[in-house]
């Protein structure tokens, strides 16, 4: 069920990016898609009642420094969190570029409406 809702969010973002006429709204649509994917990644690693994946003294057992089975079976997967952090930084970069292009375009054309920004054709 949460996965379906997450996919719904993705589709809403895609719809917004494809259908809307306003440049800023298109950017918002793309960001909604981005967040839907980030949410999906976080959900992949999540488990109900999980603990933070940080190994403390009480989680280590045995001579080889192995972590306990309890820790392995109850901690959440840390990898998707690292992926999401990276993805957020990347999307921040592209968001900044997109918004600055929007501002420059507004300065040139005086509008955000993509149906009026049509010098290229063919």
């Amino acid at each position: 069920m949460p996965y379906a809702l997450c996919f719904l969010l993705f589709v809403i973002g895609l719809y917004c990016a494809v259908v809307k006429k306003n440049m800023v709204k298109i950017v918002i649509g793309i960001m909604v898609m981005e967040y839907a994917v980030n949410l999906f990644l976080i959900m992949l690693g999540y488990r109900l009642g999980g603990i933070a994946p940080i190994v403390g003294k009480e989680d280590v057992a045995g001579a080889g420094g192995q972590v306990t089975d309890l820790f392995v079976s109850s901690s959440v997967d840390p990898l998707p969190q690292a992926l999401v952090l990276t993805a957020i930084v990347i999307s921040l970069g592209s968001l900044a570029l997109m918004i600055s292009i929007c501002i420059r375009t507004y300065e040139k054309y005086g509008t955000f409406d993509i149906t009026e920004i049509r010098r290229l054709k063919g």
Partner: protein, 510 residues
């Protein structure tokens, strides 16, 4: 000589961020920055040549896979590395003079090197999320470069490219998430191993579809091509050369081929899908190109058509492999596709550079406003003719050989209609480039263009370098060179999912 693999990514990346410092030093700083950037691209070319024919795995930070990220240099990667460094060295040399028209040259050089670093990262990465990160580095740099002029058209094209490109990237990220959820690994070798063990389920098939759409958007395959004819002409000429010459191939074709052939394993339906996408791109691109009046726009549409050839070759090979057909036939088809990829990288970037030279001299891109430039721009004319002869497929220039291989492969595998379409699209290409020659270089010289001069210096060197390659690329088929450069790349794709076993075995040795 074995060069550490991260050097290919680290050198352009570090230099890219050093260059803007020089812009504060005035004229002299700008010259130093230009020389430094050229030095980086040329040394990348030398290193790429030095690492031909090697198979190496590098583990980043000594973390063994699947825990850490690995970089893999195999035949396909080194072929692409070579193509990237040839095109970027030529385009960088060209921009040394061409970019004098623009302000903020240091920023341009910075973005250029970032794009090179991103592309090198994509071809070397053995980790699927890492591939996504480098794909985004290269893409974001290219969005900014398309809008570099900051005029009406450039901004519009850049926005369009950025929207479609971002949607493509998000699709890829979503697919990566699905793959991780279903296989529990991000390393391509281990993903492939997991898929071989469990087979494809619904989630993985959906991920595959997302990969095709995402990389298809980056490669501008028809029907995902809408951004390309706007974005490529709007960029400064050396960047158009980079985008059309190599960026769409690295981010699109290479990534798609790697995922389809080496990670998921090619299936009959996937093979057909690639063949159909390839044929659609070839035919639609060629028809749309013939009607164009804008020099660079015509070249951009022709890129779509030529990308179609590459995908067709790969698709035919994949189809034959998936049907358990003759491996020699499959390898011939893939050889044709990859050879065409390299050839197209060289001649299309040369064509864009000549268009830049024409535009710099005449100040226009409209074919109908030019004419009779053959006398005024003799070197541009000569190199443009060589590149046109290559793309049309006139022996002995490079394009002829790759198209010939594709036709032979199609006939051998009994796809006669495919061979017929290849020949037909070649005829359309001939019409396109006759039109270019006729309007730009032949006919009457208009009044207002009497005084123009050809730009010499670094621009000329870059164009002549690529033109020589166009003439000599046919030699890659000579057995000694072929078995070192092209064949290892073909073998990577025909071996398909044994990539995983090779990489894992290799990293055990390290």
């Amino acid at each position: 000589m074995s060069i550490p693999l991260p050097v290919f990514i680290a050198v352009p990346l570090v230099t890219a961020f050093l260059l803007p410092v020089f812009s504060s030093l005035g004229r002299k700083g700008k010259a130093v920055a230009t020389v430094l950037a050229n030095f980086v691209t040329v040394s990348l070319l030398v290193m790429a040549v030095a690492s031909i024919g090697q198979f190496r795995v590098y583990e980043v930070g000594k973390w063994s896979i699947p825990l850490g990220i690995n970089l893999v240099l195999d035949g396909l990667s080194s072929l692409l590395l070579l193509a990237i460094s040839v095109v970027s060295a030529a385009a960088m040399l060209f921009s040394a003079r061409y970019m004098e028209q623009y302000t903020a040259k240091a920023k341009y050089l910075c973005l250029f090197l970032l794009m090179v670093a991103g592309m090198n990262g994509v071809v070397l990465s053995g980790d699927i999320f890492n591939l996504f990160v480098f794909l985004e580095i290269a893409s974001i740099a290219s969005y900014a470069l398309v809008g570099f002029g900051c005029e009406h058209e450039e901004l519009e094209a850049s926005f369009k490219y950025m929207v479609l490109g971002s949607i493509g990237s998000i699709f890829v990220l979503f697919a990566v998430a699905l793959v991780y959820g279903n296989t529990g690994s991000l390393n391509m070798a281990y993903i492939s191993k997991a898929i071989q063990g469990s087979g494809l389920n619904a989630g993985l098939s959906f991920a595959m579809a997302l990969f095709v759409v995402g990389f298809g958007l980056k490669a501008a395959l028809v029907p995902f091509h809408a951004w390309l004819p706007d974005a490529h002409p709007s960029a400064p000429a050396p960047i158009s050369a980079m985008l059309s010459g190599i960026l769409i191939k690295t981010l699109g074709i290479y990534a798609l081929a790697r995922v389809v052939f080496n990670v998921f394993g090619v299936s009959v339906s996937m093979g057909w899908l690639l063949v159909v996408l390839g044929l659609l791109s070839m035919v639609a691109g060629a028809f749309l190109a013939i009607g164009q009046e804008d020099f660079k726009r015509l070249l951009a549409y022709s890129s779509i058509s030529q990308i179609g050839y590459v995908v067709l070759g790969l698709g035919l090979g994949g189809l034959i492999i998936a049907r358990d057909g003759n491996v020699a036939w499959a390898s011939l088809a893939i050889l044709g596709g990859l050879f065409h990829l390299v050839n197209h990288a060289v001649y299309k970037s040369l064509l864009f550079l000549t268009s830049g030279s024409v535009q710099m001299s005449t100040g226009t891109r409209q074919l109908k406003q030019m004419g009779g430039l053959a006398e005024k721009l003799p070197f541009t004319r000569a190199t443009c003719t060589v590149a046109s002869a290559s793309i049309v497929g006139i022996p002995p220039f490079s394009g002829f050989w790759s198209k010939l291989i594709l036709v032979i492969a199609a006939v051998q595998a009994h796809f006669y209609w495919v061979a017929a379409i290849i020949v037909f699209v070649s005829l359309c290409t001939l019409i396109m480039y006759l039109k270019v020659q006729r309007y730009v270089f032949l006919g009457e010289l208009p009044e207002n263009l009497q005084q123009i001069k050809e730009n010499k210096g670094s621009m000329l060197v870059a164009m002549v370098f690529l033109a020589c390659l166009c003439g000599l690329m046919g030699l890659l088929l000579v057995p000694a060179l072929r078995s070192n450069i092209l064949q290892p790349a073909v073998d990577v794709l025909t071996d398909g999912i044994s990539y995983s076993a090779n990489v894992i075995k290799m990293s055990m040795k390290v």
